[in-house]
Symmetry: D2
Subunit: 346 residues, 4 copies
Amino acid sequence: MLKVGIIGATGYTGAELVRLLSRHPQVELVALTSQSYAGEDFASVYPALNGYIDLQCADLSPQELLEQVDLAFIALPHGHAFEVAKEAARLGKRLIDLGADFRFRRAETYTEWYGLEHGAPELTARAVYGLPEVYRDEIRQAQLVANPGCYPTSAILALAPLLKEGLIDLDTIIIDAKSGVSGAGRKAVVNSLFVECNENIHAYGVAGHRHTPEIEQALSFLAGQEVRVSFTPHLVPMSRGILSTIYVRLNREITGQDLHSLYRAFYGREPFVRVLPPGRWPHTRWVYGSNYCDLGLAVDRRTGRAIIVSAIDNLTKGASGQAVQNMNIMCGFEETAGLDYPGLCP
Amino acid sequence: MLKVGIIGATGYTGAELVRLLSRHPQVELVALTSQSYAGEDFASVYPALNGYIDLQCADLSPQELLEQVDLAFIALPHGHAFEVAKEAARLGKRLIDLGADFRFRRAETYTEWYGLEHGAPELTARAVYGLPEVYRDEIRQAQLVANPGCYPTSAILALAPLLKEGLIDLDTIIIDAKSGVSGAGRKAVVNSLFVECNENIHAYGVAGHRHTPEIEQALSFLAGQEVRVSFTPHLVPMSRGILSTIYVRLNREITGQDLHSLYRAFYGREPFVRVLPPGRWPHTRWVYGSNYCDLGLAVDRRTGRAIIVSAIDNLTKGASGQAVQNMNIMCGFEETAGLDYPGLCP
Amino acid sequence: MLKVGIIGATGYTGAELVRLLSRHPQVELVALTSQSYAGEDFASVYPALNGYIDLQCADLSPQELLEQVDLAFIALPHGHAFEVAKEAARLGKRLIDLGADFRFRRAETYTEWYGLEHGAPELTARAVYGLPEVYRDEIRQAQLVANPGCYPTSAILALAPLLKEGLIDLDTIIIDAKSGVSGAGRKAVVNSLFVECNENIHAYGVAGHRHTPEIEQALSFLAGQEVRVSFTPHLVPMSRGILSTIYVRLNREITGQDLHSLYRAFYGREPFVRVLPPGRWPHTRWVYGSNYCDLGLAVDRRTGRAIIVSAIDNLTKGASGQAVQNMNIMCGFEETAGLDYPGLCP
Amino acid sequence: MLKVGIIGATGYTGAELVRLLSRHPQVELVALTSQSYAGEDFASVYPALNGYIDLQCADLSPQELLEQVDLAFIALPHGHAFEVAKEAARLGKRLIDLGADFRFRRAETYTEWYGLEHGAPELTARAVYGLPEVYRDEIRQAQLVANPGCYPTSAILALAPLLKEGLIDLDTIIIDAKSGVSGAGRKAVVNSLFVECNENIHAYGVAGHRHTPEIEQALSFLAGQEVRVSFTPHLVPMSRGILSTIYVRLNREITGQDLHSLYRAFYGREPFVRVLPPGRWPHTRWVYGSNYCDLGLAVDRRTGRAIIVSAIDNLTKGASGQAVQNMNIMCGFEETAGLDYPGLCP
């Protein structure tokens, strides 16, 4: 059994990791850290897990935690992973960071968008961006995986086949994304209150959201040249789910059938990407609590555009499920281990 | 007092008309038709209105209804307004149709997108498209007003200033719209069930929704040339509200401040359009149950695009509120009569 | 015009007061206090009210505020009204407190349930409990009104006729109440986050909620003897609304028809209580954003019990609407002034 | 592998059966019937299950289905199970009916509350009420199991220990229950529309809901004498979950600690009942999508009552999960097979 620890276990992505790992056949959870709930049973903070986890939250230092485990997950806001990563490198422990600290090839990009000096630039160069559908081979060898952001996962998976094939005008990409509120985390802020979110939808971070450079880095890699996108996130009154609606201008005439064939070929052997048949569009409910990314596609002949819609659960494929998938790949487990169940619907 | 009747009073837009008109200072509601609830007190179908309306639903013919009123509203699905409009023309009664039957200048466009022969092409030529911010003068003289669709209202108001000024590449307009479920009406269908809509978001009508030609007709009029758009509606788990996020390529360099000045000038005297200050983005909750359209704007220098976000209540400014506004204009009432109250928030 | 100020204007009950008073025909809002938003336009905190209020939030002392107004509302958590009330008494200004500080005849009850020394016991003796349906005459003369809690309003109105008539076994009263989340206020706490409340219902404060003694005080007054109740509040995933389902054992045999007659007689002239016909049960949507209390009634012959269900909007009849109703009574205005509109439904 | 069929697979309880059985280690799903979707892939009706089920819906007769299977589930409205049960008896196949047709010992009770002649009274006498915590031994031998209703499951589990111990006045039981909307099924009716249910709570079936006699039958069995209850269901704006708040008068003085000890002893070895520690109250989110029943308890000394709150997922422990649990018991499988995972939370 792989001994695993979670740093920041009581936020929403931390709790989702516990949910998934508590039933993973090859994992033993041995340590959960939390500052706010140190000393409390994890199952009293998340009583849904009563009977599935018998650990207390502890306020451990990175070193204390890492010494107990074979692999650790960091489920903290950005800026907190640098020291942990250095310690993990020193101790030779594998690490999967669910935050943004190691997502950028260039530390300057991080500084520019996150407003922080990068605390471990030497490590960021060796970190692997944990999107298995694009970087599976690299993940297999990785010691440090930067788990993708939720919006970037939904956008990159939707666009990868088109970019690989060079089918679109690269300056026409528009990503209109809609997220459930769990994406904002469990922090007690007025903007995340029920009454503020319920019966409401609004855009935020327009023309400036931090997931923009992360999306652009991956798309540029896939396209083999610099790509810039318009990306607008929205907050939707639901707990889980991201739907990204993506518009691109095609640079040659293809049919909807061609487009479907392309995507089916590209994702045919992927365990967690499902390409819907023509005329069907994904619902976030269909991936609720699961690690799937569902894709719907169409060519709009009137405007010469392709429209791609992707649905994921932001806490699962958009965060903790994908992190477990990365762990499975890094450790040579079956890639679907602990993740092989459908969304909860209805 | 203006004697008013509503044809199709027990659907959601019908009930919203009753709510608004029951407190309108210059209106007397005299007849409500409903096939499903004929013979029942309207207030027993919508007990919220208990004490505000003392009429029974009746299954009247168009003629029977029109003879009792000075002005009628039709709040029925498309295809039902033709005969009523002919009868109204014959009797010289004013008519506001909340459906699509008279929204197109060319009857062929109607037939192409709605799949129905147009039943009164001679009247559609004389009908006025009831968007006061664009057609106020024509509405003043109109006998027959085609009340705009909910999505078109949100899109056209967001784009009108840019199109009038000729500031954008006309083949780059993308309208990503998100609607609450009341837009689907009160029909008992599986897709509108609570369990199907809750904790869910999905796109529908991709590259083929019937509001597309309606939007294009108005934008083409404003631009003075043919415009084609990509328009994608989504269903969001809330009862009321439409948020439209709109992306356009600017054809010259302007600042965000310029953009705000343009919109403030364009809408400065409009009673129901509020342009938010730079950096603020509309929430549908802020217009909940009210007749306002809130607009947020930005220029994205990285991509050369302008991004416009509009929020309306689909049942009010997107349907019945705008219909009352049109009635006010047609009848020479204060344009805000019966509509001068803020959204219900929180 | 009555000059009015609100202390604590940016919480949910404060904002509801602004919404209602901004359109009240006899009121001029002159001062809004808020510590968190001092210096900001109120309409930038609540953009729904853009165009309806042109005041900045200020961090005024009680004296500074009271000197500007004829009447003030306190919309703060309990414990903050004592000094304001003393100052108001000194200055001879009318005061309506939406918190709990002056709801109890006996200061000891306050101390026992709220864990605070009462800061103005001499004033509590003169304060009037602001439930117009029970204490209208006293309110007319009052200088200091203690506005009832939301749950107590829903429970007392449901039970008053039965208690007045002496029809029930007083030790059998069970009040099972369900509230929307706005009842928890706008405080940034984890328990009020969207993700914690959505798709969830739970009981809280079981056998110990602070509204229990408030309910018992009013019911004891109505019954003419000591009454004890079981009261259990629940949190429901909606923004507004309280539904209270109340069970009592009848001490004599009466029919459902008798029960309806009794309630219709009792509330026949009340402007804000609507007794539904037999077989109909109130929905909180029917009173959404309005000042109504809807009541449904039945006698269950199998068990000898009466079941009463009441619905209010917790922010309106359960707080700010009732406060405005009290102001109207105190000032000799039409009792329904500023409150004469139906709930927003759908 | 046990060959299993589901009659009525496309309703919500049917789909929940498919979700659970598609991953059950000892079950092979071989036939799914549906009239509305005959000929369609089940996974195209419920795309969440894409990749987990490869069966078409078929419009089979009871005999056709039963001949293919070892055990069948009926997930249809009441009145449809009689003929199936006769056929199953003839063929010697095991049957679990999720409807009400075989829940009553006395066919007359069925007729009285459901208004239908009972179509197979000879079978109802041999049917076992499928509540494992009460009837596990009988279920083990059963050929025909009547799966309990959702409300009855939540109520009976909450009360069983108190009744067995004879601790309460039997004429004081009040059950106030709150259900998510999926309990109403997938039928297209106005009352189940999103807009009708959202931002709303109401009672229904007051003093006459059909689950009343089912609850009373089980409680009477446990008490050893006739029990009558007041039972009021409510509709809450959430998809899944039932919370029942139950009030009873204690007939002797016991402490909260005694009560907890009693429940922990009674349910100590039950795999799916979790008794919460004193001071904690169940949230329906904690059992979301799982087969657990969480119980919270208190003694209210002021009123001499015990208050018990139970939470289940109405589709899982309240229907399909419990049906799978019954199948496990009938077939000698591990009782938790296919059900051993926690609720989805957050």
